[in-house]
């Protein structure tokens, strides 16, 4: 995946997010302290926030180009976004959640059977999302995002709310998503362990700027300062 961010500017409460990046990893970790602009970056890419100016291109698709007045609507961006709170629809069953954005595209071969099998949630389809355990909710949220056939997945600290035991059980599912569906991901995390397990590229944000962009293992080896 090629994700290009050029001259991206978004004023936030304490600082301005200013990015100029080209990401090529299969899974890129977005690393940084709380309030460094990580979630805002994901929201910009998904279209949930609008940059003051800048350019965003995911693969072949230009999502935003303020210079040419291009701003693709959120619903047409094909960006899967799993926020920290998951945002499962509480009034719908697991199956209805999964089908909400299900849209087979010619360029992606994703079926409900395949996704539910890989994420081991086939037996939960009739359940209400509010009755699921933390790990089940997590997998349902991944599956729902995958079934919309996204070109890029944005995961915002997907394991932050889980205990370490459960985290260790979810990571293999993320590896499966990466390997089975070949969808590039931007993965916000505070955890070195997750970066090591999943990511092949890392960017480090500090007060809205990218202060380092490296291969994951390099970051891991030089992060005593974090």
């Amino acid at each position: 995946m090629n994700l290009i961010l050029r001259n991206l500017r978004l004023p936030l409460a304490d600082f301005t997010l200013e990015l100029d990046l080209e990401l090529r990893g299969r899974v890129t970790a977005v690393f940084g302290a709380s309030g460094s602009g990580k979630t805002s970056l994901l929201e910009l890419i998904a279209g949930l926030r609008r940059a003051k100016n800048g350019f965003i291109q995911a693969g072949e698709n230009v999502l935003l180009d303020t210079g040419h007045g291009i701003n693709i609507p959120i619903r047409s961006r094909r960006i899967g976004y799993v926020p920290q709170d998951l945002a499962l629809f509480p009034h719908l069953s697991v199956k209805q959640n999964l089908l909400y954005g299900f849209k087979p595209y010619a360029d992606v071969n994703i079926t409900i059977e395949h996704v539910t099998e890989v994420l081991e949630i086939s037996h939960l389809l009739a359940r209400r999302t509010t009755s699921l355990s933390g790990g089940e909710q997590q997998r349902t949220a991944f599956a729902r995002a995958l079934l919309a056939s996204p070109q890029l997945l944005l995961l915002d600290e997907p394991l932050a709310s889980l205990d370490s035991n459960l985290k260790a059980r979810i990571i293999p599912y993320l590896i499966r998503i990466r390997d089975e569906f070949q969808i590039p991901m931007l993965y916000v995390t505070h955890e070195m362990e997750e970066i090591r397990a999943l990511c092949d590229e890392t960017i480090v944000l500090e007060r809205g700027r990218c202060i380092r962009q490296t291969r994951a293992e390099q970051v891991f080896n030089s992060t005593t300062s974090f």
Binding site: I79, A87, A145
Partner: protein, 224 residues
Amino acid sequence: MTSEEWQIVGFTAWVSVLSTLVITPFGLALAWVLARRDWPGKSIVETFVSLPLVMPPVATGLILLEIFGRRGTVGGFLHDKLDWDIIFTWRAVLLALSVMSLPLLVRSARIAFENVNPRLEQIARTLGAGNWRVFFTITVPLAARGIIAGMLLAFARALGEFGATIMIAGNIPGKTSTISLAIFQNVQLGNDTSAFRLLGVSVFLAFVAVWGSEWLLRKTHHRP
């Protein structure tokens, strides 16, 4: 109950249901805009919508009379162009009930919309849903209890409306007479038995509507 009383009860229930249905689409649109959008002059619109709740109903009726009377701006236009009369017809009853009950629907629906997590609407958009789909499949179902509670409250308010109705619809037997107007008139004329029968009916209808609305609100409150 006499046939005349049944006619009054039937007309009141019918026109109250109709006014609730008439204000619902408009009230929901207004509630959504107030809950989800900011624009200059929003607080003025908010105040205007709530005015009928706090103003004397008779005063609201007088304003409506000025606007919808034959010499009023809207009333004159409707009379000249469409040969429609509003004042002293059943349409005036509908108008009075709608204006007086709208604030209750808007307030209740607005709170219900504000309680819907905007994150869910955003995620629905990332899943490919357009504005209408988000509204009807996420926002309205999640706000449904508050909306229905608001509709029931509006209906109950419509059932008991007196001041604005008597100003613009009068109390014409068989035409614009509602339960409230008939109770007042019966007491004036010393027909206490008839007044008490209608009182019983109105207590029953109001009780069912308010109780239903409270029940729905309680359920909304307890939802995870």
